[in-house]
Amino acid sequence: MPQYIFSLIVDDEPGVMQRVVSIFSRRAVNISRISVGPSEISERTARIILSFEADPKKARFMRNLLSRLIAVKKITQLKSDDAVIRELVIIKLKNHHENILEQIKQLTRESNVALVNYVKGYAIEISGPSTEIDHILNHIDQKYVTEIVRSGIIALKK
């Protein structure tokens, strides 16, 4: 099933996530990634970026249902060909192993993933499109890794 990404501008108030999420849970649609942050539009609004898999009919239905919510001010559908889509990953290293660093550097050079930070001997931060991040995580040596944290996606229409 195709993947959909919606960017929502919502009222920044308690319970707004519950309203949005219950639209999906009631129709048994799984939200695969979700991230929330303040919006630049006003102090009273927040931006939610969420992605889910559904057939086109269901996706249209979800969008229409979200548009009914009073707390949802704006909905934009983001498509991979005309949006910047990023996920941030922090990889925590086991026993301060640095062997993995060169490996990740090599992998990032071959892809759209950027090495954004390296906390010496402790953690590596990378950022990029989710699919390419998947690729990197599949190729690094797990024995040097204790924990991997992924942010969910943030995205912006080009």
Binding site: P14, G15, Q18, R19, S22, R26, K57, R60, F61, N64, L65, S67, R68, L69, I70, A71
Partner: protein, 556 residues
């Protein structure tokens, strides 16, 4: 400066609210203390909060305006939930106000605390928790604007006790705060739709509850006569056209009339207005109106293609869309010829009348409803409970005007009829209001007889007493090999005595010849009256379509 309770009442008054329904309790006492001296708002004290919600809902359905229900926190508020859910399913503008524990106790499992904010999210159009009294006027006004705009629906306001007593520090401003997400009418689509309709040979108009809500009955009739096309309705659309009109075919669906279901299935163009294609209306979605190009007109985009795929959809208020359609068709020279289809429609009406109930003993329930048609006047109101009684009413009662028949359509809430009748009678005291009840449904809210009697809001409750949970029994008979699992209610309940215990009149009717007299006695008495019709216990509602079946394949 005003207290929170004063703000609530000021907003209610500024919005023209004359009646509220409710029941006090600890966390809502400051508001009730303020109501005590209020002379311009009538408060109807119910006996169970669910009835307050249904009564406010009934009030809203007959007036089109908002209905207001008030309850206390915790169980008082959770008792409202069924009523709120009922209003939500039928798009009724209900304003539910509940007390809540003081702000500093919220989330600490205080006495009579329940998380209403979370509980009502899936069954309201929107909801609020008021934490600052200075926000209250804005929130109250928004609640009204939201409930009434676009597709109407219930709005809940959770009002902590301390917010009710605190004084505002800012001046309150009364204005419209929310204008709704108004759709812009697409003239291109109007033209496309008009061209499809004008080229159709067998057009049918399907009127749903949206027609009633948008007050577009006149436009439906005009369009029907213009084409000409027969009009079928959903349950919620009953009253959209007078059922005495020669183009009216009645209701479609599982318990629809044969002419209505056949017309839909034979149609080549179905103009569906303000309906959501509920499974009870469409039967099997794949075969529903499969020969027709479906034009779906609705104000809520999420209804488009939800259940039935349309060929063309127009988002907008039914009244505006219909006016535009009619105007376009009139100016583009519609030929008013449709003889073969009109001949077929007349043939359907002639060939497939409803089964005629005979005057036998015991009474056949449809006979009671049929007789009501000649007893009640066009402005009189019928509400129903849920189950067989409701479907007999839908089949045999022929409303002449919109907002004169009240059903719990979407939720099918047993117990809806009596409190909804009380709400309707409060709004329209000059009309006779009859609740067509089953013995099972009636018992769910029978204590509201006390509300009716003590507040002097006389309604007539016509109990079709078959001593069964009749619709379930009918399904057990047809689909579960007559295994009547827990549907027999026993014979000891004496509805006449029950009525009398509440100070109402009780009339027992066992013979067909007594039906009319009982109704006339009840209506003339001006008192709350329960008529206990002892009927044929195993009478079924026919015609009927099997669940999920094709709607022109009907039993009975």
């Amino acid at each position: 400066m005003l207290s929170g309770s004063e703000v609530v009442l000021e907003v209610l008054k500024s919005r023209g609210v004359k009646t509220v329904f409710g029941l006090p309790g600890g966390a809502i006492m400051p508001l009730y203390d303020e109501l005590y001296d209020e002379t311009s708002i009538r408060h109807i004290l119910v006996r169970h909060e669910q009835a307050a919600a249904h009564a406010a809902d009934g009030y809203a359905r007959v007036t089109g305006g908002p209905g207001v229900a008030i309850a206390t926190s915790g169980p008082g508020a959770t008792n409202l939930l069924t009523g709120i859910s009922t209003a939500y399913a039928d798009s009724s503008p209900l304003i539910a106000i509940t007390g809540q524990v003081p702000v500093q106790y919220i989330g600490k499992d205080a006495f009579q605390e329940a998380d209403l904010y979370s509980l009502v999210i899936p069954i309201t159009k929107h909801n609020f928790l008021v934490k600052d009294v200075n926000d209250l006027a804005r929130i109250m006004n928004m609640a009204f604007d939201i409930a009434l705009s676009g597709r109407p629906g219930p709005v809940h306001i959770d009002l902590p006790k301390d917010v009710q007593t605190k004084k505002t520090t800012r001046r309150i401003v009364f204005k419209q705060f929310y204008t709704g997400k108004t759709p812009i009418l697409s003239l291109r689509k109007i033209k496309q739709a008009a061209n499809i309709i004008m080229n159709a040979e067998r057009p049918v108009i399907l009127a749903g509850g949206g027609v009633i809500i948008s007050n577009s009955s006149d436009e439906i009739r005009t369009l029907a006569e213009l084409l000409p096309a027969p009009v079928v309705t959903t349950l919620m659309g009953k009253g959209a056209i007078s059922e005495y009109h020669p183009l009216s075919l009645g209701m479609i669906g599982m318990h629809g009339t044969k002419p209505a279901n056949y017309a839909v299935m034979e149609s080549d163009c179905l103009i569906a207005v303000g309906c959501r294609f509920d499974d009870r209306a469409t039967g099997d979605e794949k075969t529903f109106a499969s020969k027709a190009k479906i034009i779906h007109i609705d104000i809520d985009p999420s209804e488009i293609d939800k259940n039935i795929k349309s060929h063309l959809s127009i988002i907008g208020d039914a009244k505006e869309v219909l006016k535009a359609l009619i105007y376009y068709m009139q100016t583009s020279g519609l030929k008013k010829e449709n003889t073969p289809w009109m001949m077929r429609v007349r043939e359907l009406i002639r060939e497939y009348p409803l089964p005629e109930p005979e005057e036998t003993h015991p009474i056949k329930p449809p006979l009671i409803i049929k007789k009501m048609n000649s007893i009640l006047k066009e402005n009189d109101i019928v509400a129903t409970e849920v189950g067989q009684c409701e479907m007999w009413a839908a089949l045999y009662y022929k409303p002449r005007k919109p907002r004169t028949v009240l059903f719990s359509g979407g939720q099918g809430t047993m117990g809806f009829g009596l409190p909804a009748s009380i709400g309707a009678k409060t709004a329209k005291p000059e009309s006779t209001v009859v609740d067509i009840a089953g013995d099972g449904s009636f018992l769910m809210m029978c204590h509201e007889l006390a509300t009716s009697v003590e507040n002097n809001i006389p309604v007539v409750v016509a109990i079709i007493n078959n001593r069964y949970l009749g619709m379930v029994r009918q399904w057990q008979e047809l689909f579960y090999e007559k295994r009547y699992s827990y549907t027999f209610l026993g014979e000891k309940t004496d509805f006449v005595k029950l009525a009398e215990a509440f100070g109402a009149k009780g009339i027992k009717v066992t013979r067909c010849s007594e039906i009319e007299e009982a109704f006339i006695t009840a209506i003339r008495s001006g008192e709350t009256t329960v008529i206990d019709f002892e009927v044929d216990r195993e009478c079924n509602v026919f015609p009927m379509v099997r669940p999920g079946g094709q709607i022109d394949k009907m039993i009975g």
